[in-house]
C-alpha cells in the first residue's frame, strides 16, 4: 500500500509536499507511535492493577533506572554487542562458503547437510555449559554459541537463494561466453541476495539470544550477566532495563541489516517489504 502511494504521488501532483513523501517512506514514526502506545498501556496497567514492583515494575521506574545507571548499563551493553556482532560475522563467514559448496556439489550436500540439520535440533542451552568447559571461560565459547545459533538460517536461506537461479539465465550467460565464475558473480549471487538477507535478518535476531544464553552460563560481564545478578538481588526493575536494552539493540541490528540490504539491492526494494512482512 505504501508502495502504491509512493509511486502515485509524484504523478498526481507536480510538487508533492515533502512531508507526505517522507511519511509514506519512513518507518520510524510508525514504530515510535506503536512503541509509545505499548509503554503507555504498560504504565496504565501497572497503575490500574497496582502490580507490586517485585512482579512488574512500571516503565517509568525502568526509565529511571536506565537514566541513573546509564554508565554501568552502557559498558555491559558494549560487551554483549561485541559478542553478538563478532559471532554473527564469524557465522556469515562460515555459512556463506558452505552454502556455495552445497549449491555446486550435490555429493557434499548429501554428506554434510544432514549433520548440520542434526546439530540444529540440539538446544544450544543444553550444550552451552559443555562449550565453557571445552573452550575456557573467555570470549571464545560465547562466539561459538552465537555462531552455532545463527548459522542455520543463513545457510538454509543462502542455499535456497543460490539454487533458485533460472537455468535459462545460466544458458543465456553461457552462450554469451560467460565463465562459471562470471555466472556466479553476475547472476547467481545477485539473484540469491534477497534470500540471503532474509536469512541474515533471522540470524541477527537469534544472535542476541545466543549471546545471552552464553552469558547466562558463564560470564563476568554483559547484559546476560547483569540479568542474573539482578535476579539474585530481586531487582526486577534492573532486569527489565537489561531486557529493554536487548530488545532495542536487536531492533537496531535488524534495521542495520535492512539498511545494508537497501544499499546493495536498490532494485529489489519491493520484495524486501514483502519479506519483512513474512518474517
Amino acid at each position: 500500500m505504501t508502495q502504491a502511494k509512493e509511486l502515485a504521488l509524484p504523478q498526481m501532483r507536480a510538487t508533492p509536499s515533502t512531508w507526505r513523501r517522507w511519511l509514506a517512506q519512513a518507518e520510524t514514526p510508525y514504530a515510535l507511535i506503536s512503541g509509545l502506545a505499548f509503554f503507555l498501556t504498560w504504565q496504565v496497567a501497572v497503575d490500574a492493577f497496582d502490580f507490586p514492583a517485585y512482579l512488574l515494575p512500571s516503565p517509568l521506574a525502568v526509565l529511571k533506572d536506565l537514566v541513573l545507571s546509564w554508565d554501568l548499563l552502557l559498558s555491559e551493553t558494549a560487551v554483549t554487542l561485541f559478542e553478538i556482532v563478532l559471532g554473527f560475522i564469524v557465522s556469515v563467514a562460515i555459512a556463506m562458503p558452505l552454502a556455495i559448496l552445497f549449491t555446486y556439489s550435490r555429493t557434499f550436500e548429501r554428506l554434510v547437510y544432514p549433520i548440520i540439520v542434526g546439530t540444529q535440533t540440539i538446544p544450544k542451552v543444553a550444550v552451552a555449559p559443555l562449550f565453557l568447559v571445552w573452550f575456557g571461560f573467555g570470549l571464545l565459547p560465547k562466539i561459538i554459541i552465537v555462531t552455532l545459533i545463527t548459522f542455520f538460517p543463513i545457510v538454509i536461506n543462502a542455499v535456497v537463494g543460490l539454487k533458485s537461479l533460472n537455468m535459462q539465465t545460466v544458458y543465456l550467460a553461457q552462450s554469451m561466453g560467460a565463465s562459471p565464475l562470471q555466472v556466479f558473480w553476475r547472476f547467481r549471487l545477485p539473484n540469491a541476495l534477497p534470500s540471503v538477507f532474509a536469512g541474515l535478518k533471522v540470524a541477527i535476531v537469534l544472535a542476541v539470544i545466543g549471546a545471552i544464553v552464553a552469558e547466562f552460563v558463564g560470564a563476568d560481564s554483559g547484559l546476560g550477566y547483569l540479568i542474573i545478578v539482578a535476579a539474585t538481588d530481586q531487582n526486577v526493575t534492573r532486569q527489565f532495563s537489561a531486557i529493554l536494552i536487548l530488545s532495542v539493540a536487536g531492533i537496531l541490528l535488524f534495521g542495520l541489516i535492512g539498511l545494508l540490504e537497501r544499499q546493495l539491492l536498490p532494485w529489489h526494494s519491493s520484495v524486501r517489504r514483502d519479506a519483512l512482512v513474512d518474517s
Partner: protein, 335 residues
C-alpha cells in the same frame, strides 16, 4: 509474563486437585479437613524426605490436613507462588524470604530447617588450601547468583584474609564441579553435604572450610507463608508444623524409610544420594542458638545476624527490618 502464566497454571492445577480431594471426602469430614499445598525450593533433596515420610505415614491427615507437595524451581519462584497465593506453604532460603519482605512481599517465616549454612570452600587434595588464608592468590570459580558469593567479603573479614587477592572466574552451577575437577579453578564454594560429596566421588578433596565455622551464618532453607495465611489460618499452620516436626523426628530416626517415601513419590530420584544427604542433614538443622529447642525453632540472634549480613551484601535490601517483621515461632508445637 511467563511467571504469571506459570502461577496461573499452578493455581489451576492445585485448584483442580483440591476439588478432587473435596469430592472424594465425605461431606461431614470435608468440613473439618483443610487442604493445603507445600511448594519446595527445588526438586527434592535428602533433607526434603521427612516431608514425604510425614505425608505417606499420614501425619498430616492425623492433623486434619490434606497436603500436596510440589517441586520448586529455585527460592525466588517459590516466593512468588506463596506471595501470590497459588500455594499455601513454601520452602525457600529464609535469607531470600527476608530480601523479598524488604521489597514489599507480604511474607512471614514460620520455621527454620537448614539453619547453619553448609556453604564451604571446596578444593581438591593437594591444592594447598587448608585454611582461609591459603585462598589468597588462588582462583575461585564463583556463581553470581549464590549467596555464598555475596557473603565472601564478610567471610574474608571474619576469617582474616584479603578477598581482593583471590582471582575470580564466573561459572554456572552446571560446570563448576567439572571445572574444579579439571583444575581450571583452584576452589569453589558449595554445600558441604551435597557439592563436596559430588566432587569427592570423583577425586579426593581437602577438608571443606565452612563459612559458619568462622561465625558467618545466615538462615537457609526454611518454611514460610503469606502474611494473609498467617493471620487467617493459624490453626492450619500449627497442625502443619506439628505434623512436619513429627516427620522430621521419625525421618531422622529411620532415614531409610524417609528416603523410601520420597523415592515412592519421585521415582526418578537417586536413593543412595538422598540417603547420604539426609544422614548428613542433622547438624545443619540448628545453630548453637537454636539447639535443643525442637524442629523449626528459630532464634532471634540468628535472625539478627541474617538481616545484618543481608543488608551488607545486597544494595536492594530496603528499609530497616527487625527480626519480628520477618519471622515467628508461634506456629511451632509447644515442647
Amino acid at each position: 509474563m511467563n511467571m504469571k502464566k506459570r502461577t496461573l497454571l499452578k493455581y489451576l492445577s492445585s485448584a483442580a486437585s483440591l476439588q478432587a480431594i473435596g469430592l472424594s471426602a465425605s461431606g461431614a469430614r470435608a468440613q473439618s479437613r483443610q487442604s493445603a499445598t507445600l511448594r519446595l525450593d527445588w526438586t527434592p533433596s535428602g533433607y526434603h524426605a521427612p516431608y514425604f515420610l510425614a505425608l505417606s505415614r499420614g501425619f498430616y491427615k492425623e492433623q486434619g490436613i490434606d497436603i500436596q507437595i510440589f517441586d520448586g524451581k529455585g527460592s525466588l519462584s517459590t516466593l512468588t507462588a506463596i506471595s501470590e497465593g497459588s500455594d499455601t506453604i513454601g520452602i525457600a532460603s529464609l535469607a531470600t524470604v527476608a530480601l523479598g519482605i524488604s521489597q514489599g512481599r507480604p511474607l512471614l517465616a514460620i520455621g527454620g530447617m537448614i539453619q547453619t549454612m553448609p556453604d564451604s570452600v571446596i578444593s581438591l587434595k593437594g591444592s594447598g588450601i587448608t585454611k582461609p588464608k591459603d585462598l589468597e592468590g588462588k582462583t575461585w570459580g564463583y556463581n553470581p547468583d549464590d549467596y555464598s558469593t555475596r557473603l565472601f567479603p564478610a567471610f574474608a573479614a571474619a576469617a582474616g584474609f584479603d578477598a581482593s587477592k583471590v582471582k575470580k572466574i564466573q561459572l554456572s552451577h552446571a560446570i563448576v564441579h567439572t571445572s574444579l575437577l579439571q583444575g581450571k579453578i583452584d576452589f569453589m564454594i558449595g554445600w558441604e553435604f551435597t557439592d563436596a560429596l559430588r566432587v569427592a566421588r570423583q577425586k579426593p578433596i581437602e577438608r571443606p572450610i565452612k563459612y559458619a565455622d568462622y561465625g558467618v551464618n545466615m538462615l537457609g532453607g526454611g518454611l514460610f507463608v503469606s502474611k494473609k495465611t498467617a493471620a487467617e489460618n493459624p490453626a492450619l499452620l500449627r497442625s502443619f508444623m506439628a505434623a512436619t516436626a513429627k516427620g522430621f523426628k521419625e525421618g531422622l530416626k529411620d532415614p531409610q524409610a524417609a528416603v523410601a517415601a520420597l523415592a515412592a513419590a519421585r521415582p526418578s530420584s537417586d536413593r543412595e544420594l538422598l540417603l547420604e544427604q539426609l544422614n548428613r542433614t542433622p547438624p545443619y538443622l540448628h545453630t548453637k542458638n537454636s539447639a535443643g529447642k525442637g524442629f523449626g525453632y528459630m532464634a532471634q540472634a540468628d535472625w539478627e545476624q541474617t538481616l545484618v549480613l543481608m543488608k551488607q551484601a545486597f544494595e536492594t535490601f530496603k528499609g530497616d527490618l527487625k527480626p519480628n517483621d520477618v519471622y515467628t515461632d508461634d506456629f511451632l508445637p509447644k515442647t
